[in-house]
Amino acid sequence: MKTSLNISILLLLITGLFSCNTKDSKDGNKGALASNAAEKVYVAPGEHDEFYAFVSGGYSGNLTVYGLPSGRMFKEIPVFSQFPTSGYGYSEETKPMLNTSHGFIPWDDAHHPDISQTSGKLDGRWVFINGNNTPRIAKIDLKTFETTEIIEVPNSAGNHSSSFVTENTEYVVAGTRFSVPVPQQDIAINEYKGKFKGALSFISVDPEDGKMSIKFQLMMPGFNYDLSHPGRGKSHGWFFFTTYNTEEANSLLEVNASQNDKDFIAAVNWKKIEEYVNNGGGKMMPANYAHNVYDDFTHTATSTMMKEVLVVDPLEVPGAVFLLPTPKSPHGVDIDPSGEYIIGNGKLSADLTIHSFTKMIKAIENKKFDGDAYGIPILKFEEILRGTVKQAGLGPLHTEFDGKGNGYTTFFISSELVKWDLETLEVIDRKPNYYSVGHVMIPGGNSAHPFGKYAVSMNKITKDRYLPTGPELEHSAQLFDITGEKMELLLDFPTHGEPHYAAGIPASIIKENSQKIYKLAENKHEYATIANGDARVERKGNEVHIYMTMIRSHFTPDNIEGVKVGDKVYFHITNHEQDFDVPHGFAMIGANNSGLLIMPGQTKTTVWEPKEVGVWPFYCTDFCSALHQEMQGYVRVSPKSSNLELSWSLGDD
């Protein structure tokens, strides 16, 4: 009996195997056995991935770089957070990067990376990303993969509907999630209605060097501006923002902001406002915000406090702003590659609302209005609606596109990725996500030319997907092959922090531009030591400046005497290597800031304040060579009252 049962199970298994094999891969849901998912994500040792993915770190404040389809992480790029690995935000050169009107803010909540575009195509020059908490927009240079610029956004709070770029990177756009009094003032919170404003900031990007500056801020009614996306193609020149809390509640928003059947997508004709501003429109208002710029040649950041900003009242520019009623607190607003469909992901509903840009323009021309909000015309829902994807799932958040006529929408509550047809509005496929997906990313997803090969869903809950690591887990991303009719789950991989969106790009567009070293001959750092003979130590009052060089495998100078308790010792260290991937580290015992990791040709500075008499060592932290352990030196620290002159040496025993 038992044997026969075993045999029948075996038979079942075998038939199962065979049926799997014979049915081929039309149905993508057969697991690794039938569909060779493993082969599809296998990037052989020494081979390169096909795509880069820049994944936001959420509360880590940083941006991580992954390869697709392997899911391997290559780098964490420090953006808004201090990063002791490299000394970012600790070194004298990079501390100004984290300066704000609130002082030094060494952390943030990094949300939505977006890659620069030219003519609606990813050009791979920069990645922009928003700091949500202390409103900031950062720019990462894709030659060095380093943060080179951060601009603070005034009159904002909760910089969430950011940082998306227009078709030619004319603007990177930042919208405020929290409306606040503008200018800030001491008023009762229940005076919210009417008194609070929502600033939508259009930050121009210099086409040559990428330098950012706030062109204008549009002062909108006090709703919550949740997400945004640019128009493209036919709708280029417009920008779309979702809103919630159009009730303008100020307490228990969970309930009070969920009462209106419909909130709005705000459609902003930025071309029109730009023209208005170029003709002298708008009002300069006093402001205080930081603009921090890092220079690749001085290897140093400077922070400038900006004192005014141009604000625009939407009522002063008739025909520039309209409100599109959209059901149930829409979260994401996504524009398809053609620029025609404006998709509202009503997060408290089961449906997706698709507006038509063409119908919107017609409704505006024919003045099909349904009243106004603070003077801004509300368009009639029926006049602009193209259709609804019915009962597609529960809690839609974000939609991306494959450039082949399909949309891919994440459903947070029902925890799934749903593929639907942009023409028929019918659901084609749905795949469970593990668990509770937030954003989905298709490389080039926010552009006119997506690369519809993979979709990455970024999940909010991990639970049992990996080996347990105590209560705190990394988040989990999932890679889908989207080349077939049905989506196929290929891979789970953990992500750092909490990814809120990612931006993907074919590796071929940027990898050849990736810089290998900084040229020493181009180093313009104020305290660089270019010629070896210039290594020296200088005293200025209680400041001691050490001009030091490092090359395999020694520091010059390596022994320094004449430093006293109470001195501020500046180590200005220049890496003299000009060879790819030969950084050196610097670590000083008792340093209250961080170590340094210095790339070939680069100069970095750390400050050390010795508190005790003695002879204190420093050393290289990056295993640079066979003689790495020999790469060390000493600083002799004498009492405050000592008269010992400064002296330094190398190699003279």
Partner: protein, 207 residues
Amino acid sequence: MKKAGLIMIVGSLLLLGLFKFPLWNIMLGAPQYPEPMGMDIYITGIQGVQEFDIQNIDGLNHYIGMKTIPKPEEMWEFNVFPLVIGGMAALGVLLGVLAFFGKVNAWLLLGWLLLMSILGVLGMYDFNVWLTDYGTNLDPNAIMKMTNLDGSPMSYKPPLFGHQKMLNFDVDSYPALGAYLMFAGMLLTLMAFFVGKYEWSKKHKYS
């Protein structure tokens, strides 16, 4: 001897390629150098294949006590070689012109080739002497003093021609474009000799 003269002129002029292209190339690859570093040896000096190769080769060589790669002013060869090559090219062209007008016979062309070959061999000999000194005359205070199994100090002399494994490096040493142009030129002068001989005998048979 019109044809022979022309061939001789072209052959001699090909020597001038050495002023533009390297004579020899030595590449050094290692596990941690997937993109090998390299030296291009010109008759006027040594240059890195990539911008910082010389600096990086010197940086590694200091571990085993090798001298730095010489600058042009540190070796007399880089002053003399251009004069020799230029002189031989000029002489070859002169012989070619004379041959063209039938003023010299083919044996003189062969004489040029013989002289050029002797000079070439001398050049190679000198190059090898330098390579030997470079690879064996090491700093007694070198960081790493490597020995062979029999206890003798290890030599880092790069091969004159071909591939050799040296510690973690694979060293490849081969002629480069300048040398190939020179060889082609010398072949042409040999051809000029045979053509010239034929033309000379034809002319003198019927005259």
